[in-house]
Symmetry: C2
Amino acid sequence: MSKSRNRRPTIIDVAERAGVSKSTAARALAGSSNITDDTRDRVLKAASSVGYERNSLAVGMRSGRSGMLGLVIPDITNPFWAEVARGAQDKAAESGSSLLVFSSDWDAAKEAAHLRALRQARVDGAIINPVADNFDDLDRFGLPFLLIGSSAERFAETSSVGSDIAQAVQLGMDLLVSKGHPAPSLILGPKSRLARARFLRAVHEHCIARDVDPAILDVEDGEYTVEGGRIAMRRLLERDRVGHVCVFAANDMMAIGAMMAVREAGLRCPDDVSIIGFDGIPSGEFAWPGLTTIAKPGRDLGARAVEGLFDEIEHRPEHRRIYLPCRLIERGSLADLSVPTPKRVSGAGRG
Amino acid sequence: MSKSRNRRPTIIDVAERAGVSKSTAARALAGSSNITDDTRDRVLKAASSVGYERNSLAVGMRSGRSGMLGLVIPDITNPFWAEVARGAQDKAAESGSSLLVFSSDWDAAKEAAHLRALRQARVDGAIINPVADNFDDLDRFGLPFLLIGSSAERFAETSSVGSDIAQAVQLGMDLLVSKGHPAPSLILGPKSRLARARFLRAVHEHCIARDVDPAILDVEDGEYTVEGGRIAMRRLLERDRVGHVCVFAANDMMAIGAMMAVREAGLRCPDDVSIIGFDGIPSGEFAWPGLTTIAKPGRDLGARAVEGLFDEIEHRPEHRRIYLPCRLIERGSLADLSVPTPKRVSGAGRG
DNA sequence: ATGCGTCGTGGGAACGTTACCGCGCGTCCC
DNA sequence: GGGACGCGCGGTAACGTTCCCACGACGCAT
């Protein structure tokens, strides 16, 4: 009469063993009310004695909640996004949810495929860093979702979580000014990326607030990679400039590339060139000199994104947009020009 | 008579629209045989016209295959594991599977919790880098799985994928010897980790093959972190040693830490101390000097792991253990002592 | 012409769970 | 004292898919 040996125990097995109906067993297992303490205990004991484990597939099927969340980021291999993923994963685990992770490689087609996969997997919702130029897939997504990162601005209605670029730039510019670099050169990302404009605007605003004409700032564009930063820095160095050069890179990878270009040009950082980055990736710590940078709260971002996504799933419109503050990390890549040391610094005798 | 508007179309909707039964629709959608081309086309057209997307939950429920794979690694934030995850994710996507990613933090309790989550999610199988000292959870896992990384040796029966430590060490030692460092000091991981013994054994074997007594090698242990490497290097430097020091670190993080310790001691790499690492993490490229290292094929490892896992799931015992070769990356952290340049090198005039 | 096998299709059951309804019982209130 | 109501529980119908079996039609060999 016994069922086939190698089958995972179901709620029916639990119910039989506890001598109740499966409805009652379900109620006990769900921690629901309307049940005697005694019955609940019996069911729980029976469950653990047969080694029962709830089948999430069946639950998802019936209740419409699969207990899975999707995360679509450009590249899990990128340390910043890895931090985000980790934060999201930990927060999801707190609520008993699992995370489906996908890398889009900034490729709209891949992104679309991933979104389809998420829909078919019946995830409860998704956290997405959308590729810049195509929001159609997102419109059709049909599931609760929340945007993460800087592309969020285009979607007025959906919630988003991102880092506070304005505050971050403020942090960096204040430090730069205090060290005697009131008008740094800028190494920015590709013009197509939304984040570029955000960053540039913040710098401009800061300049204007200090009565510095933003137009005097040198600007170079490049890919958000080490190589992109290296090339941009090379171009910056080719410009006929006298004295100390200061560079504010929009991304740590680019900052590291810039550092390499400086070295390759026979110059030294921070003696000849000051560099500050933006992101806070671990590599910056291990570079020489250590990269001074503004760290985005990657893990927090991921965690808050999951929280916001739950609000979205439960139709609690608690918050719409969250911008998390960034944190300054001072290491050795910035020269302090405010103290008048006898170095080969051009004019600019400040302080 | 129309169903409620905001419902995802099911296979029944497709069947009705195509004028066939749901069985036939299912056959058409599954690409099965025993169906007329005409019928198949009608069904496919109906499906795309109503925007049908297969419900993976229901499929998983009925067929027992959820289309999901689990990945349990120590930390997605670790660049090596991120590469593994990426390789696994891409390979899984090729077969239409999704990846559930979990970080265990080398914590047996977390690992156990993750394995439980995977079981409840009814994943088809899992790729696991188990924590060192506890295999009980794995025994009870009950689902197909495959081991990844160096802890695999303890499980004789299960398939595993890892990097070829012996070949990697061979690569490193050969290079070291060719550059005049026949007996490098070793910075190894904690004694508790399985990988440590593997690494040490490979070095010993290489030494014996060259008639070098392994006992003369200085050895320091430490955590697999930058800080661990820094401390180990400091201790190494405290030993009364003359001339050039050469260090073979079992992990890039430690190698980078060692590099920092060298700098902090007022010494220079590679002039005073030669360092070679093992892993191939990106940070090594950005350190100064660039870290010479042996790179593990992280992405391949992940991809092959998924392939192996599929074999396991389908009960195809194709292969049991795979060791993927590593690749040498020469950068600037190794001095070449084989060419007799007038440096402050002690004796040891080889080559 | 009859039997048999195959092909295309339809009808149902099953996967494991939760949602819903109903039923008996005790309690409280008018 | 009788009706209303809440509580604890059981039975059953879904959820969307695949699997299995049955059935008619047809081709082929007997």
